[in-house]
């Protein structure tokens, strides 16, 4: 058996331009981690906790840059490794560099950006994975993600069906504030979307829907399809401008990340929209007395901090305030720092390429919930709710969205489909 590249030889494998650019862009960030190599991130990483394979650690993702720089590895050697990331950001906030010196030196660890850049390089070199290729091709064709399946073309998904969830709710098109409806929520877990819209209506928030809502483009960016992400962003921003939109309500954390981090990066100062996260808006509506929660929900619940809210946006107080405002609820909390190492495995395209790992991450999360003796795990991220609910079914714990609980407590008849959570109804 011959194994290549056994010796360091700088000249033997001249990298292509794309790889060279990747290395030059991220070399310094790579050394910031490589020089330390302490791996405080390892036991926080949701993927590593499941695979126990050092290739999948944030440390390896950084060291690969240095190894490419030194001619030891090419992107094709590590392409599969870079698939093993949910982009939760837990590694970044657990990094001593971030905690103590990163901002001081303007050298913060940025593993999520490194993974996204590596995946973009994979796309450039045709090394992107088959599942992602198909997913993004269908997303491009449908202008929304194929969340109801990538094989059956007769599924009611795509642009023609994007507002079906809103049937009977009498929501206008356009206006100053629009509710941006995530693809998973628009087609798969429509109870989430219907609950959100009706909660806002009940609280007197004026909002509309987009004229033509495409996918936010975030998943494409996470999987490395930068051009597609950008094209979707341009469409959506144009749609907003055409309707005089000023404020976007993001009902889903991945969309919120994309609108607050990627869109400003794409459009610079021209991106002048206000972006509001639904849990913060709803907490405010409750605090100000615009939303009254008076129907008791007699359940014992714990809260799952969605990674993109907690780890990447430091949003963890609003959902706890909401849960503590629901009458009848027994809330067994696990603090948000402990939850730096929790995840559903649903993000970063992992569930498309490595569904077994996603399922195992969700099983681990439900096992933690089970130790608390709860009936229900409440999330605030619709993308987490499918794998969590599937795992919850096996251990008899229901999974719900926080806004669905709010709606129920506000006396709203939600309607819609609850996706994998409907499995519980058959138990």
């Amino acid at each position: 058996m011959t194994i290549e590249k056994e010796q360091s030889d700088y000249s033997s494998k001249p990298p292509t331009d794309g790889q060279q650019q990747f290395v030059e862009r991220w070399r310094e960030n790579g050394y910031n981690c490589y020089s330390s190599g302490h791996k405080f991130c390892r036991e926080v990483c949701p993927v590593m906790q499941v695979t126990r394979n050092e290739n999948h650690t944030p440390t390896a993702f950084m060291a690969n840059i240095i190894a490419m720089d030194r001619g030891l590895l090419d992107i094709e050697d590590v392409a599969d490794d870079y698939v093993h990331c949910v982009q939760c950001g837990g590694c970044e906030i657990r990094c001593p560099n971030t905690l103590f010196v990163g901002d001081f030196y303007q050298a913060r660890t940025e593993t999520v950006k490194v993974v996204r850049a590596a995946r973009a390089l994979m796309v450039d070199k045709g090394l992107d994975r088959d599942g992602w290729k198909l997913w993004n091709r269908l997303t491009r064709d449908l202008t929304n993600e194929p969340v109801l399946g990538t094989t059956d073309e007769g599924q009611p998904q795509g642009q023609a069906y994007v507002r079906n969830w809103a049937e009977g709710l009498d929501i206008p098109i356009g206006g100053e504030t629009i509710m941006f409806v995530d693809c998973e929520a628009a087609f798969y877990r429509t109870s989430n979307t219907r609950a959100t819209a009706q909660v806002l209506q009940k609280a007197g928030v004026e909002f509309g829907l987009m004229n033509e809502q495409w996918c936010c483009g975030g998943p494409a960016a996470e999987m490395g399809y930068v051009e597609q992400s950008r094209a979707f962003a341009e469409h959506n921003v144009n749609d907003w401008r055409a309707s005089g939109v000023k404020r976007i309500i993001a009902i889903e954390p991945h969309d919120y990340i994309h609108f607050t981090e990627d869109y400003p990066a794409y459009f610079g100062p021209d991106f002048d929209f206000e972006v509001v996260q639904i849990v913060e808006l709803v907490a405010e509506l409750i605090k100000e007395g615009n939303l009254v929660l008076d129907k008791p929900i007699n359940k014992t619940v714990t809260y799952h901090d969605p990674c993109r809210l907690n780890k990447r946006k430091n949003i963890h107080e609003a959902p706890r305030f909401i849960l503590n405002s629901i009458p009848g609820l027994t809330f067994k909390d696990v603090d948000h720092v402990t939850q730096w190492s929790y995840c559903s495995g649903g993000g970063g395209g992992l569930s498309i390429e490595k569904p077994d790992i996603t399922a195992e991450i969700s099983r681990t999360r439900l096992a933690r919930a089970r130790e608390l003796g709860v009936d229900m795990l409440v999330s605030a991220c619709v993308w987490s709710e499918r794998p969590l609910a599937t795992a919850g079914h096996d251990v008899g714990i229901e999974v719900a969205d926080i806004i669905e609980l709010v709606a129920e407590s506000a006396g709203i008849d939600i309607g819609g489909r609850r996706g994998a959570s409907e499995l519980e109804a058959t138990r």
């Binding site: 058996m1 011959t2 010796q7 490589y34 030891l72 590895l73």
Partner: protein, 504 residues
């Protein structure tokens, strides 16, 4: 006999490994798996990375698998290098001669929590942080808390005979591991303790084999299970930091504190002037202090509320006896709480002229007596300055001294000078200079009657060549033991001058 370097495996050997493992994805021969298990956080000759890349990685789940792999390695003369967390500050887990990396991270089970006889049995691939998350449900914890608490794994703790920041109160790794299972270099699976009992803490039966294998640095086998001490979670913690305008006053204060008879004293740490200069300069979380401060003594007490309350009064009196000034509750609570993370903050340093660059960290972890600390500090600092001036890739991040004896705070210290190295610029010349630098630091330790390594092991150039000198007559015994247990020199070969064991 020097074991030949093995960079590739025959297909037949790979097939044998796969047959032993019987699990897809547990035998890894791809280049990324091997490249990413070549180094540890200790300074690494990155310009020669390719020369250390192993031939294969195996991810076992059972002692039987480990045993079969080791037997295969003996038959095929392939080096085997155990790897747990890969967080060592010496080269224990670096495959100097390639071969098979036996990565134990999947052996991370908690097998038994025994609250009656007060112990927990685990696999070697679990971290103390994860273990304690589980143990916290029962109101107990395993008190092995190195600075690498969130990332180092039990297997590596045993291999390096680790140091715990709370060791003065609760003991260090060697005291906190009651017994462990180890696969010998020839494949036999044995359990070693003080005597034979898995959960026995004190015995006079036979030889005390636990102590032979504790700190084996991967050269005498692979740990596959360990039974660990658990202790009640302390009811009270009291940390206090005292600031001084003079190093010798701080040094004398240490003595007052450690000889005060306080039984709840969990540790003391002495920061020297260079350390404070570094923290002031480059640690954004370090609480500002007046400019006259040039040394600090940090202390912490753990115990019942009644014990700690009473002892805290004595501690405050002793801490102030030589003019020490209490630095305030913010620092006491905040800095002590961040003790694990702070160790890893030297991710950057400054080259002469002040430019900030990413730097790797060398921690010279000598064991030294209290009396010699000031002299060693002077000599280490002078050596460091000489190399900084000459080579332009080093930085001196100062010296910490930690109380290091188990259950008694006096006598000897883990004295560490922290050196930054700009790895990105390494080449053969400045790497050779680094090894000389390292060696000079080690020689100071030996001159003052110390021990080269308190807790990282002596597996790297600049340490290894001095091991025979420190061990004296014991070196011959070590060689005999090594050759007897590892007749083919396949277990982590090339470490600690142990190739000498095979010279007839």
């Amino acid at each position: 006999m020097t074991t030949a370097t093995v960079r590739t495996l025959d297909d037949a050997v790979v097939a044998d490994l796969e047959a032993i493992m019987g699990e897809p994805g547990s035998v890894l021969t791809n280049i990324s798996s091997r490249t990413n298990r070549t180094r540890v956080p200790a300074p690494f000759p990155v310009h020669r990375w390719g020369e250390y890349v192993p031939a294969a990685v195996v991810l076992p789940r059972t002692a039987e698998q480990v045993s079969e792999i080791v037997k295969l390695a003996n038959r095929a003369s392939i080096p085997v290098v155990p790897r747990a967390g890969g967080t060592g500050l010496n080269d224990g887990a670096v495959p100097l001669r390639g071969g098979i990396i036996l990565d134990v991270k999947r052996m991370n089970e908690i097998k038994e929590v025994d609250l009656a006889d007060r112990c927990v049995t685990v696999g070697p691939g679990i971290s103390m942080m994860k273990l304690n998350e589980e143990l916290s449900k029962y109101g107990v914890f395993h008190p092995d808390t190195p600075a690498s608490y969130p990332c180092s794994l039990v297997g590596g703790r045993i291999a390096c005979s680790g140091f715990s920041l709370l060791g003065t109160r609760f003991g260090h790794t060697r005291d906190l591991v009651m017994s462990f299972e180890i696969v010998l270099p020839t494949g036999e699976i044995i359990r070693v303790g003080d005597g034979g009992g898995k959960k026995i803490r004190k015995s006079s039966t036979g030889y005390h084999l636990k102590h032979l294998f504790m700190g084996h640095q991967g050269t005498l086998g692979i740990v596959t299970e360990a039974t660990l001490e658990i202790v009640p979670k302390p009811e009270a913690e009291f940390a206090a930091f005292f600031a001084f305008d003079d190093y010798l006053k701080a040094h004398r204060t240490l003595h007052h504190i450690v000889t005060s008879g306080i039984a709840t004293l969990a540790g003391t740490v002495l920061f020297d002037e260079k350390k404070i200069e570094y923290l002031r300069r480059d640690d954004e979380a370090f609480i500002p202090m007046p400019s006259w401060v040039n040394s600090i003594v940090a202390t912490a007490l753990y115990g019942t509320k009644a014990e700690v309350t009473a002892a805290s009064k004595i501690l405050m009196e002793k801490g102030r006896a030589e003019g020490g000034r209490y630095t305030g509750d913010h620092m006491a609570v905040g800095d002590w709480a961040s003790r694990h993370d702070r160790y890893a903050n030297p991710l950057h340093g400054r080259i002469p002229g002040g430019q900030v660059v990413p730097m790797s960290w060398h921690c010279e972890d000598a064991s030294l007596n209290w009396t010699v600390l000031p002299k060693v500090r002077e000599e280490w600092t002078a050596i460091a300055q000489r190399y900084i001036d000459e080579w332009g890739i080093f930085d001196n991040w100062g010296i910490y001294c930690y109380t290091s004896a188990s259950y008694k705070p006096w006598g000897d210290y883990l004295a560490e000078i922290d050196i930054g190295i700009w790895e990105e610029k390494l080449d053969d010349d400045n790497w050779a200079a680094w090894v000389r630098f390292k060696s000079e630091l080690a020689q100071v330790t030996l001159k003052y009657g110390g021990s080269l390594s308190n807790c990282h092991g002596t597996t790297r150039a600049g340490d290894a060549e001095h091991v025979p000198e420190e061990m004296g007559g014991g070196w011959d015994v070590m060689k005999k033991v090594k050759r007897m247990l590892d007749p083919n020199n396949i277990m982590n070969p090339g470490k600690q001058m142990l190739d000498e064991a095979y010279q007839d």
